[in-house]
């Protein structure tokens, strides 16, 4: 029902938009000295929207000549909303998104990073993050948050099962998961979410842990020996019954709740889960360790989100830069990362974050983290193919599933 209403609303807006197109192409941006900026950001959690509302209000107080219109969207919806906007030539001026954001540069839609922020702010941002999403060697995205995955484990279950240390290698992981599953009583050793919500993340952690990558020479490489090794190991865990039942159809968020309830031994997670545990089940005895890999050498999945500015030929760089400088001011920026419990991407922000013990493992694993090849135009479809297909390893041979995903990746590359 909600979707129907939304569809009607979108249609109505589209119809109105068509009518308004005629007078929109002119210099609407700088009428009467005020510049209008549209800001589109994804929602990380309950604190996201209030944060941006406050920030925009504070910004308006200091800059009466710039009017920022805020729009927030869920991660589920934001890609579709954005595609519709761009199709109708109504791209936002400032967008926060994962590495798919900078990828819009391939279509010549973006300002360069150096054009939309002051040199001082740019110097404060960790260079490695800026470089994590270059398009043809040029930076278009300004990193907002960064994060890695790590293994959350339940200390009580570890003690009961007689597991003394968190696993570093796959063999140790399988062994520990077996011992915990043997406890019975609805307890499962390892939580493996391969449902459509974020199957690409779980798969990438294992594939990167076997030394694999998803891209080489600009082509998507999914059906590789490393990936095969990783998926074979994952299938082995499923077959030996050390994961929760039906991993192929289990989404990440509901499974995390099961971990928080103390029914799962180990699960890979992001820093914000620390806050969720503290809120929902503070009595849980948990600890964080680096993600296990095939041979124990450190590697995990890193993710970062970025700001990009859309160049619609309206010369709004200065206004965008004013707003982004305001966002990266230490107070505003640290508050943003505190809210979302991510790792800040600025040097000044990282100092503030290093004081927090629960972020330690995540900060340490950052140098060895591999990112999605999200600047490759084919990654969006590849990631979608992972989400809708990789869970089939539960019932189908690994080779078949990998070649199916490879075919989807090739179809668009």
């Amino acid at each position: 029902m909600k979707r129907v209403i939304k569809a009607v609303a979108v249609a109505a807006v589209a119809a109105l938009g068509l009518a308004a197109c005629g007078d929109d192409s002119g210099g609407s941006g700088s009428e009467g000295g005020t510049t209008e900026l549209e800001l589109l950001v994804p929602i990380y959690g309950d604190l996201t929207k209030p944060y941006w509302e406050d920030l925009v209000e504070a910004f308006h107080k200091e800059n009466s000549d710039i009017k920022v219109t805020l729009e927030t969207q869920s991660w589920d919806e934001i890609y579709t909303v954005l595609t519709t906007k761009i199709q109708n030539n109504r791209a936002p001026d400032i967008l926060e998104l994962d590495a798919a954001g900078p990828a819009y540069a391939a279509e010549d839609l973006l300002y360069k990073a150096e054009e939309i922020v002051s040199p001082e702010t740019l110097a404060d941002i960790e260079k490695s993050f800026v470089d994590s999403a270059l398009i043809d060697g040029v930076a278009y995205g300004l990193p907002t948050v960064a994060s890695t995955r790590a293994l959350f484990y339940n200390k009580d279950l570890f003690t009961q099962a007689g597991v003394t240390a968190p696993p570093k290698t796959w063999d140790e992981l399988l062994d520990a998961a077996k011992k915990i599953s043997a406890l019975g009583g609805g307890v499962h050793g390892y939580g493996m979410p391969l449902g459509s919500e974020e199957a690409q993340a779980e798969t990438s952690i294992f594939a990167y842990g076997a030394g694999g990558t998803w891209e080489s020479d600009g082509k998507m490489t999914i059906d590789t020996p490393e990936a095969k090794e990783a998926l074979t190991f994952m299938k082995k865990m499923i077959d030996e019954g050390v994961t929760q039942p039906n991993p192929g159809a289990t989404d990440r968020t509901p499974l995390l709740d099961v971990f928080i309830q103390g029914k799962i031994g180990m699960i890979q997670g992001l820093p914000p889960i620390v806050g969720q545990i503290n809120e929902k089940n503070p009595d849980l005895q948990w600890e964080i360790a680096p993600s296990p890999t095939k041979d124990g050498s450190p590697s995990t999945l890193g993710v970062a989100d970025y700001f990009v500015g859309f160049d619609k030929g309206e010369d709004k760089q200065e206004a965008i830069a004013k707003f982004l400088d305001f966002f990266y001011q230490q107070d505003n920026y640290v508050k943003f990362n505190d809210n979302e419990q991510f790792i800040p991407a600025t040097k000044s922000g990282a100092e503030a974050a290093s004081a927090k013990p629960e972020l330690k493992i995540f900060l340490e694993s950052l140098p060895d983290a591999k990112f999605y090849p999200a600047t490759n135009p084919a990654w969006a479809e590849t990631s979608g193919a992972f989400k809708s297909l990789v869970g089939q390893i539960e019932t189908k041979p690994v080779d078949e599933v990998l070649s199916q995903i490879q075919a989807k990746a090739d179809a668009t590359g």
Partner: protein, 305 residues
Amino acid sequence: MTAPTTAHRSLRRRARRQSTLQALPWLAPALILIGGVVVYPVGYMIYTSFRDLTRFGTDKGWAGFDNYARVLELEHLPKVAMNTVIWVVGVVMLSIGLGLVLAQFLNKRFPGRKVLRMVIIVPWAASVVMTSTVFVYGLDPFYGIINRALVDLGLLDEPFGFLKSPVPGFLSAMAVAVFVSIPFTTFVFLAGLQAVPHDVLEAAQIDGAGRVQTYWRVVFPMLRGAVVVATIINVINVFNNLPILKTMTGAIPGYDADTTTSLMFKIIQADRQIDTASALSVLNFVVVVVVIGIYLRVVRPMRED
């Protein structure tokens, strides 16, 4: 009858045209609304289905029938089409059958009838996404209350992942679809039953017809209009139903639990191909129109007898 003179006829035509013009200001808001909310999006969708759009939404020009070809080449299309048939036929037939029974029951006089009639509306009044979400949680193997009840009653040995594999997931989704379709269907039949004149029933009784005979020979034929309306509206609703499948079986990998409508959504969200999804959407639209056309042709609800 004498033929009217040409002058007479043109006068009448002018008068009609004038009255149409006069009606326009009153019709305009409705027409604008229909144009903006129905005609424009449908037109735009058809237009999109013939364009080559990148995943960013930029338009690369005319694509001819490429998008349609891509839809028809999908390996899993036959399976999905079969699912769609099972989904529509199964859900609609069950809703109509159960709706007929429930309507008959609610047409009887008994204490508390009003309350019961209102209670039956609840699944209709609640948002479909909400209802399906309730079932998603209820059927969860870890903390689902329905699973727990089935285990406690001894019907299951251990919790079962109803929504974790294609066949049970699809059947559960069908059950929920029936659950949300029943209220509307029941009320259409209830209205139909109340329109059955009392003297006809009395006459049947006097003629010595039994209960079963009365129902099939007298009442049911008079419900034909209601059955047609309920079928058509249910077919459209059920065919286009996305929220139930999206919330209940959306996490299942592969395409074994998809209908063409949920496949369309996967093409948009996972494959980022708005153009291909538009083509499938147009095909869906054509299929619904054809199915309803055939149905009307066969049943001929407007036939008078």
